[in-house]
């Protein structure tokens, strides 16, 4: 199965970003039949992602591309200032460590241009590290 776009979220109101993305990601996770524990992981990852994206958004707007591929949910956040995609994944929660990296199956940073990039997370049934 190839990657299929499921939609594009553009969120301006900061206080709405987390509840909206959590719910939308849960619906996507259900669409690809993620097990319940991974659905919960996907919601947690989206929550962490948004909190981090709020600090790194380029113009006060958070944009998330949604896709599904091989039984996994894909979230691409961007544009972000170059270098900040990796920083978001590696950010530590005190006492917990880098949460996003542990929750997702895979992540990558894809450059848009010299100044901006996109962070893509993939969450499938594979399980976190």
């Amino acid at each position: 199965m190839s990657r299929a776009s499921a939609g594009r979220l553009t969120m301006r109101a900061e206080d709405l970003r987390e509840p909206v993305l959590e719910r939308v990601v849960a619906a996507l996770a259900a669409r690809v039949d993620l097990p319940l524990d991974r659905l919960s992981d996907a919601q947690l990852a989206s929550s962490v992602l948004i909190r981090s994206a709020n600090r790194h958004a380029v113009d006060g707007v958070v944009r998330v591309e949604l896709d599904v591929e091989d039984g996994a949910v894909g979230l691409s956040v961007g544009p972000l200032p170059t270098g900040e995609g990796s920083q978001m994944v590696a950010e530590d929660v005190p006492g917990v460590g880098p949460v996003l990296e542990r929750l997702v199956d895979d992540w990558s940073v894809e450059p848009i241009d010299d100044d901006t990039e996109t962070l893509r997370l993939s969450i499938g049934a594979g399980g976190a590290a």
Binding site: A6, G7, T10, R12, P19, V24, A27, L28, R31
Partner: protein, 178 residues
């Protein structure tokens, strides 16, 4: 604005007059119309949340959950959340079923939220509003009556290749006598 008179496939075969919008209640019940007074300044560029999706059946759940997420944050009642979810589902289902009968395309859901009001617009770039033609996908004709019963105000437009349903809700939107 152009709007088809009488029954139409896009909005469940409900006669909806000639105007650009309808408030619930007497105007709607008579099939009459008045100029909508949705909140000023609610431009697409200033929407609090926007979700663009391919017009496929799976997408409707995403739109519904987007709106439910907003209502979660607004702290409105479970009843409001359910009612508004139904209205948004109907509007999105209309776009999915009827906007692109012979092709594929996208549609968008925009939302503007304030503590005591929520406006949701569903827009597509499909065939617009047309006279109702009997077809297997025409549905039961309940979509528009449901939207009218649930929302405080519903505004339909179809011009320049864009069809939009814009609904305004408040925490107690549902009419007890609807």
């Amino acid at each position: 604005m152009s709007q088809a008179d009488g029954d139409n496939a896009r909005f469940g075969g409900f006669g909806h007059g000639n105007g650009s919008g309808m408030a619930r209640g007497e105007d709607a019940a008579r099939g009459g119309a008045h100029v909508a007074t949705l909140l000023p300044g609610m431009t697409l560029e200033r929407a609090d949340v926007e979700l663009a999706m391919p017009a496929e059946p799976d997408s409707v759940a995403l739109a519904r959950q987007m709106v439910r997420g907003i209502i979660d944050r607004l702290g409105w009642s479970d009843e409001s959340r359910t009612d508004i979810s139904i209205a948004v589902t109907e509007a999105c289902t209309n776009a999915v079923l009827h906007a692109y009968p012979d092709s594929t395309g996208d549609y968008e859901v925009f939302a503007w939220a304030e503590p005591d009001k929520l406006v949701v617009a569903v827009r597509d770039h499909g065939q617009g509003i047309s006279p109702r033609v009997p077809s297997p996908s025409a549905g039961l004709g309940l979509g528009m009556p449901l939207m009218l019963a649930i929302a405080d105000e519903v505004n339909f437009t179809s011009e320049g290749g864009v069809t939009e349903v814009r609904m305004r809700f408040t925490p107690g939107s549902r009419r007890e006598d609807a």
